[in-house]
Structure formats: structure tokens, C-alpha cells
Amino acid sequence: MTAKRTARSVAVMALCLFMLTGCWDRIELNELAITSATSIDRDGEDWVVTFQVVIPSTISSGIGIMGAGSGSSPVIVYSTKGKTIREANSRSYLESPRKLYFAHNRVIVISEETARRGLNPILDVYLRNPDARETVDVLISRGNSRNVLEQLMQIERIPGNGIREINNREEKYLSALPEVKMYELAMSLSSDSASTLLPEVYLSGKTETDSLKVFEKTTLPSKIRLGRIAVIKKDKMVGWLSRQEGLGVAFIRNTVDKSFIAPACPNDPSKRASIFLGSSTTKLKPSLQDGKLSVKVQIKSSGSLTQTDCGAKDLNNPETIAELEKAAEKEIVTYAESGWRAVQRLKTDAVGFADMAHRKYRRQWHKWEKDWDSVFADIQIEVTANVTLSNVGLSKEPIQVERLMEGKK
């Protein structure tokens, strides 16, 4: 009985101890500097890290106590410099009244120079620290990346979230630029092809939109936009792809979800139709001849006609549709081939053929592995596309006013 009592009192005392000494890691919400975007630049050998920190009270319109209202900037941007990324981070304590908090960091913008000098340290930081999440979107900026973070947006109050949303929507509906998360970047760089594509974000326009005054107008003098596609090979950036090339590579990589293409009309090359591709899948059929690898790229898409300017044609006629489909197929093949040429030019296996080769030709792979670049340079591809127009929209022939008037007579 007494033993029971001692045990119990020990337990109670232990609990009290827990409580008295507790709260080591507690951090209140109003002690956090919620970072919505980070950018990384190089300055000589130093790293310059820029943070875009959200000011909650300007964004949330609750019963704000210190509510500064919508008149003040929703974010502040500041940079710190250090010999490593994390050292730069730690320097933030010199100027930030709050602890930087990265779990809600949506995008990381890396300047072109940084990317060309190597991404390893960045990957290490993100995979090592539990507070930095691997699900952050990675983008490349031309020039100084801090400018991108300083840019304000109109609809989305937090620019970091805005960039992510743009990137996300673009990948969903255009598929030309991929949305790459940090862990995906790490995965593709550690895969056999050791290369990947990253989207570019840049400021279009002349002056920077970093003052709230510009919000009084309907058009911003400068905007955040997505541009080209950066090609990364073994942690270093090697070059750019245009959007067309990017879409072509995406077709080969089978990463196209939805997209738009505008093929020339079959009967009149000066005019164009527009097709929304609802879904697209690509099959790679490698074959080996005399030790040389050749790949058949078979793209299969289905889509719907969203606009046509192709003269008078009855769109219910299967032949008309077949012609349009053929035009679309030609367009897709052109895209894919231009993409292929681009990656061959950059000597980078951004299409992921190495993984395919490893899976298909296990034995040869060990030979190729050492010098994949030269093998890759010799690969021949043959692109075929198969487009099904499943839907022509609500009017069964191209709308042309002249013909409509005739019909009236």
C-alpha cells in the first residue's frame, strides 16, 4: 500500500517536473515570421538568401487588433548573406524580430547564376532540415532572383503563393513548364538520367512593382511571369529551352496532362485552328540495332476543337475531322522534334531515356552507364502522334459571317 503511494507520488512529481520545466520548443504564432517565398543568389563565394515574409495582420481581415488594414504591404522582403545558406538564414536573427519559419514556404526561386554553379547545397538544406519542407516549388529566375520576390501581385495578396498557383495552373492546363517540387528535383537528379527541367520565372515590364501605389491602377507596370525552361544536368544548369521545346520535351517525357496547340489549317496554311488536348499519353518503344539505340515515341492524345478558322467545312464529316487530326498530329510531332533537338544540343538527357534504357537493356546499361552522354547523342528517335478529336464544340461548322448572310438569303 505504501509502495503504491510512493510510486504514485513519484509519478505525480515527475509530471509536475514535466510541466514546470516544459515548453522548450513552444513558439507562438505571433513569434513566427512566416516565409512565403525564398530566393537564393550568389555573391562571389557567398550566398545571398532573400526571404519574403508575410505580415499576417495586413492579410487577414478579422477583428484585427493591430490591424494595419489593407493600406500596408502584405509582405516584407529582406536578404541576408553568409558563407552557407543556413548561415545566411541565421543572420536573419540580426534583423528580424521574429523567427523565420519555412514550413509554409511555397516557392524557392534560384537565380540563373546560382543554378549554373550547382544546386547541391540547396538540396542538402532541404532534405536535411525538418523545418524546410520538400514540397516547395523550385523555379529559376533570369538575373537577380530577389527582384522576383519583391514584386507584388494584385489578385493573390501573398506573392509567394501567387507564384506557386501560377506554376500549378500552368502545369495543369498548358504542361509546357513543369511544376517541380524539391523532392522531385532530388529524385530526378539522382535518377539514371541525372537531369531535369525547371520553370523560369521573370519580371516582365520595365519598373518593379514594389510599391503599393501601383495597386491604384488596373495594369501593373511589371508582372511576374513564367518564361522558358531551364535544363539542369547533374545539379548544374546547362541551358534554356523555349516554351515550344519545353512542350515537346514534355510530350516525350509523358508529362503532358492538358495543353493547347494551334495547328495550321489543312486547307489553308495561313490560317489556324485551335485544339485543347484533354489528355495525352506517350509510349516509348526502344529498339537496339548494332549497339545503337533508337526510340519510337508514340504520342496518343485526345482533345476538342476550341476554335477554327479553316474555311467552310462540315465538322460533322469524319473526313474533315481526320484532316484536322492529321494537322494536329503534325504540330505535335514538330513540337516533340524541336524539343528533342534542343536536348541533344544541350547534351542533356532531360527526356529520361537513361531510366528507360536501364529498365529495358539491363546488361548493356552497365556499359552505357559510364558514358551515357555519348550514347545519348547517338540515339535516333521517331515521333508519331495520334490525335483523336472527340469534341468539336457547339457549332458544327466554322462561323464565317459571309456564309451566315448567304444562309439568310
Partner: protein, 367 residues
């Protein structure tokens, strides 16, 4: 105090004793060796564990519902039995200390970095001791509950991760040599040998034949768990990235992102995993307690629980100077130790039991 547990509960105890800390390190260990064929290793190791299950059910049938140590005492004499009990005490002490440390490390690295490790470890052992101090029946029930919840959450997570899977990560299949496969199946074998805890649960089972049954079900479920976990990790992260991560499973789960709201769902599974870890520690401490009680002819006592709590915490904290050291220990030494202690020792005991049985049979025949 006539406590009874069902086969289901015994199975749950086994699964909880074998799985939770293993799933933290197994993907890492296995994928490092055999890359994309990692999912196969647990299946292979299940084959290796079958003889052990046979031994277990043999011993179970032999001792006929008596506590393991009493049975050994009657066969080998008091001194030998005490020796065996001491060896087991050491094993369970070291195992539980390493589990406590692993658990505390994880909590400390992932969630509460500045909280002193000692406090975390003390809380862990306190909870574990509390669970087993309530008796085997409670341990069985808690294990069953935890297992149920874990399966539920694991299923949910597998479903939520659906968009993240890339089946190509499994290709090409069987690239590795059989030798590599064999080596890679050693760590799962090591973890699986802990199904021997069922022998200590013997006196609480309704019939001694249930011991073997629980062992085989437990081993099967654990194998399935290992396979699933390795497969998920592979499918999400790919074979190349996994070995460089400390907690690949949780990294894989952390990638779930569906819309704006469904994020960090891995927390739910981590909560279930924590529950499972608490149960595991309590099972090991229960075994340790049983062995100590036998070795030193003690009676169950509340003071003993407090002592166990403090001892295990102290060993967990001060045996390994750095967090990395315990990983190193778990990766290398512990696997070997587990196999030697659980596999080899029980094999010897089994042989011994067979011999003494033959001897006693012969004596009976003579008389």
C-alpha cells in the same frame, strides 16, 4: 490475477514488438543494398524465419502453458535457467534502451528539437512502464487497439499517396544478384526474430498451441508491413534517394499534397506509429521485467517499475554519445545481436529440450 490473452491479442503484441522501429530503418537498410528490389527482401526473410517459428511452436508445445523459465528450470536445472534468464535480461534491456533512444531521437529530430532528450526518454519509458504495469491483459488490449488503428491509418495513407506513386521505380525487377538479396534479407530477419517474445506470453495464453499460431500470424503481418512500407518508399521516392534519408518512410509520406488543405497527412500515421512505439517499448520492458524477476527471484513491485523506468532511461541516454551512434548500432550490431540471441539461443534451447526429453523418455523406459 488470472490473466488471459487471446491469439489475436498475442499476434498484436508480436506485430507491435517487431514492426514500429523496424519500419523506420528497414527501407534505408534494404534499399541501400538491393535498390528497387527491396520489396522482395522481407518475403525472403520470412522464409528464413519459418524455422524459428517451428522452434517456437515446438517449445510452446513442450512447456505446456508454464512460464518459459519454469520449463527451462525443470529441464536444465536452476543454475542454467538463471543463466539463460540473465542473458535474456541483458538482451531485453539493451533492446528496449535502443528502442527508447531511437524513438526519442526521432521525436527530438522531427518535432521538438530543443527539448532535452532525457525528458523525452523519461516520458517514453514512463508511459511504457505504465502500460505493462497494468498487466499482460492490458498490454494485449492496447496492442490490439494500436494495431487496428495503425492498419487503418496505413491504409488511409497508402490511398492518399496514390497520386505520388511512380511504378517505374520498381523497374527493372531483380537486377540484383541472389547474394545481394540474401544479404539484404538479413536486417528484416533480425527484426523478425523478435517474435520470440511470444514465448514469454505463454502462461497467459489459453492453450499452448496458440503460441505457434500467434507467432506465424505475427510474422506474416510484420512481413506484409515491411513489404508495404518498402514498396511505398520506393514508389514515391525511388531507389536512389532513399538511402540518403534518415527517415525515408516519413519523407515519402510527407509528400502528400492534395489541394490546399490536405497536407502533412503523414502526421496522422506518425501518431499511430508513436502509439505503436510506446507499445513496443512496453512489450520489451515487460520481457525484461519477467526475466529480472526470475533471475533475482523477485516479486512484482511498484518500486521495481520505477527502477526499471530510470534504468532504461539512463541506459538509453548514456550508452550512445551521439544520435548517429545509435543508428549505427541499430544498423549493424543490433541485427547480429538479435539473430544470435533470438535465433541461435532459442535453437540451442530447443535442442536442449529435445535432448532432455529423450533422456527423460529413456529413463522412463528404463524404470
Amino acid at each position: 490475477m488470472n490473466q488471459r490473452i487471446s491469439v489475436l491479442q498475442a499476434t498484436a503484441i508480436i506485430v507491435n514488438a517487431v514492426t514500429p522501429s523496424a519500419i523506420m530503418v528497414i527501407p534505408n537498410q534494404v534499399i541501400l543494398m538491393v535498390k528497387q528490389d527491396g520489396w522482395f527482401s522481407p518475403l525472403l526473410s520470412f522464409l528464413f524465419i519459418l524455422p524459428l517459428i517451428y522452434i517456437i511452436s515446438g517449445i510452446c508445445r513442450r512447456n505446456n502453458g508454464k512460464p518459459l523459465m519454469e520449463c527451462l528450470e525443470s529441464s536444465f536445472g536452476k543454475a542454467a535457467a538463471t543463466g539463460i534468464a540473465l542473458i535474456f535480461s541483458a538482451y531485453y534491456l539493451i533492446s528496449s534502451a535502443s528502442v527508447v533512444r531511437q524513438f526519442a531521437n526521432f521525436i527530438s529530430e522531427q518535432f521538438i528539437m530543443t527539448t532535452p532528450l532525457a525528458v523525452i526518454a523519461l516520458l517514453i519509458t514512463f508511459v511504457a512502464v505504465y502500460i505493462f504495469a497494468q498487466g499482460v491483459e492490458v498490454m494485449g488490449r492496447v496492442s490490439f487497439f494500436v494495431l487496428f488503428v495503425s492498419i487503418l491509418f496505413l491504409g488511409m495513407n497508402i490511398f492518399l499517396l496514390w497520386g505520388q506513386y511512380d511504378w517505374n521505380h520498381f523497374l527493372p525487377v531483380f537486377e540484383t544478384t541472389p547474394l545481394e538479396q540474401l544479404t539484404a534479407s538479413v536486417p528484416p530477419v533480425g527484426w523478425l526474430t523478435d517474435i520470440t517474445v511470444v514465448l514469454l506470453l505463454m502462461p497467459y495464453m489459453k492453450a499452448s498451441a496458440y503460441g505457434g499460431k500467434a507467432a506465424i500470424w505475427g510474422a506474416m503481418m510484420a512481413t506484409v508491413f515491411y513489404c508495404l512500407i518498402i514498396a511505398i518508399t520506393l514508389a514515391v521516392l525511388g531507389a536512389k534517394l532513399v538511402p540518403s534519408l534518415t527517415y525515408p518512410v516519413f519523407a515519402a509520406l510527407g509528400t502528400v499534397q492534395i489541394g490546399e488543405f490536405v497536407e502533412r497527412i503523414d502526421f496522422i500515421l506518425i501518431m499511430a506509429w508513436m502509439a505503436s512505439m510506446f507499445t513496443k517499448v512496453s512489450v520489451f520492458l515487460f520481457c525484461f521485467n519477467q526475466m529480472v524477476l526470475y533471475s533475482f527471484r523477485l516479486r512484482s513491485h511498484n518500486g521495481l517499475y520505477v527502477a526499471t523506468c530510470l534504468l532504461v532511461t539512463a541506459i538509453a541516454l548514456y550508452s550512445w554519445p551521439r544520435n548517429g551512434a545509435v543508428n549505427e548500432f541499430v544498423f549493424k550490431s543490433l541485427t547480429v545481436y538479435k539473430i544470435i540471441n533470438n535465433y541461435a539461443l532459442f535453437f540451442l534451447i530447443w535442442i536442449g529440450l529435445l535432448l532432455t526429453k529423450r533422456k527423460s523418455n529413456a529413463e522412463e523406459a528404463v524404470s
